[in-house]
Amino acid sequence: MQLRAFGPRALLAEVADARAAVALGAWARAARLDVAEVVPAAGTVLFDGVRDAEALRVALAAWDGAAPAVQRAPVEVPVTYDGADLGFVAERWGTDVDGVVARHTATTFVSAFCGFAPGFAYLTGLDDALAVPRLDSPRARVPAGSVALAGAWCGVYPTASPGGWRILGRTSVALWDPARGEPALLAPGTPVRFVRA
């Protein structure tokens, strides 16, 4: 782990990959470090609102690379597989539409981090060999609940927005609800399985 200063009140920890980032983020939350924000991302964890950078460096040196052992049942997200890009993804994966659905529903994903929009989770779990390119020009409006791929990431649009991800299908589950105790259904660290609706 390499630590980089991010201005006077934040430290950026660089780790091996998204899985290491989500593990460090979960560990840091469980350790109740004296920081305002713990923000995991693709290969980093940002610690913002740091009062004592030296104390934080010492605390982070104690991390052994593991996530706290909290075994949770995966959140099940029912999907109607009728997305506009199913055919494109099938071609890239060298299979047919049923093959895409089989692969997608057989994968256990983990929410690595949220970004782009509140509650929009970047889900890891697909093989890098299955990475798909984004659309060259994003669609002006992707409906809420769209289940989509970009690179080896999977994501579900919490609200309607412009978007360039490849759409596999849609879910009626509410990904984001500020009135809920846990507003984001797929907060970082959450395991996820997709099932046919």
Binding site: F6, G7, A10, A36, A41, F113, P118, P183
Partner: protein, 280 residues
């Protein structure tokens, strides 16, 4: 007790100290861009620091109250009237029941703050009454005809307060995490010549035009967490200073971070204004 919004000006939003601790869910922090001005407005009417105020962009706000209350207007200096009678800037003023508070247009600066004794008491969302203009978490922007509830007053108005010392001169820069994506001496390059505030600047970021920063690395930076005041540099080479409604993660490298105590000045810079930087 409540306020009727009669006019909003170009953009008026409710702001308290913002939504801390939710960046990992993709929620921007929000909060007033000129935080010291918002805090001063609250002190002047006897509120605690957590009370919500109205952030007014380029003036033009009109509010009618249904009960007498104390108000204070701070930030960008605007003509303040209560039922067409002039009132002072940055001091508590009494608005009688049924009277209208009216803000004119600022001659300089951008954002003014209106505090009312008791605070604007719209329903909090995720622990804050702030409107985030990136993802629209929180109460909607003010619209004509909306009624804003007002909380119970907690203390007497302050007769006066220490005015903010002017801090002219450049914005101070701290090193960011990705200086190695740029030619050596990038911090110095940022400080060598003035930048000009771009038209598209808003609560998300202050866009700058001027010398382009030269990258020495190609490719895309994987998304990483962002902080308030981060100077992000997209492929154009033109820096953007991230403000309160910035996305919690971003994919452009950050060679420098503006000192937090200087950020309020970004709230008051207009498109076309010059900005200088200096190493902190």
């Amino acid at each position: 007790m409540s306020l009727l919004v009669r006019r909003t000006g170009p953009l008026a939003t409710v702001q308290d100290r913002g939504r801390a601790g939710l960046a990992h869910l993709g929620v921007p922090r929000a909060g007033p861009l000129d935080a010291p001005a918002a805090a001063l407005a609250n002190r002047l009417v006897g509120n605690d620091a957590d009370a919500a105020v109205v952030e007014v962009t380029f003036g033009g706000l009109e509010l009618r109250t249904d009960a007498g209350l104390w108000v204070a207007v701070t930030g960008a200096v605007v003509p303040v009237q209560v039922d067409r009678r002039p009132r002072g800037h940055a001091r508590a003023a009494w608005v009688p029941a049924g009277a209208t508070l009216r803000l004119g247009t600022p001659a300089t600066g951008v954002r003014s703050y209106v505090a009312v004794a008791g605070g604007v008491a719209v329903a909090p969302v995720l622990g804050s009454r702030s409107t985030d203009t990136l993802a629209w978490v929180g109460p909607p922007r003010l619209e004509e005809g909306v009624v804003l509830p007002v909380g119970s007053s907690t203390g007497p108005p302050a007769p006066h307060d220490t005015p903010r010392p002017p801090r002219p001169g450049p914005l101070r820069l701290h090193p960011g995490p990705r200086a190695d994506w740029f030619a050596p001496g990038t911090l110095a390059a940022l400080c060598r010549a003035p930048y000009v505030v771009g038209e598209a600047s808003d609560r998300v970021g202050m866009r700058l035009e001027g010398p382009r920063l030269e990258r020495v690395r190609d490719g895309e930076l994987p998304s990483e967490g962002m902080v308030l005041g981060a100077v992000q540099v997209p492929p154009s080479g033109l820096p953007v200073v991230l403000l309160a409604d910035h996305p919690p993660t971003g994919g452009y490298p950050v060679p420098a971070v503006v000192e937090e105590d200087d950020l309020w000045r970004c709230a008051q810079l207009r498109p076309g204004d010059e900005v200088w930087f200096t190493p902190a």
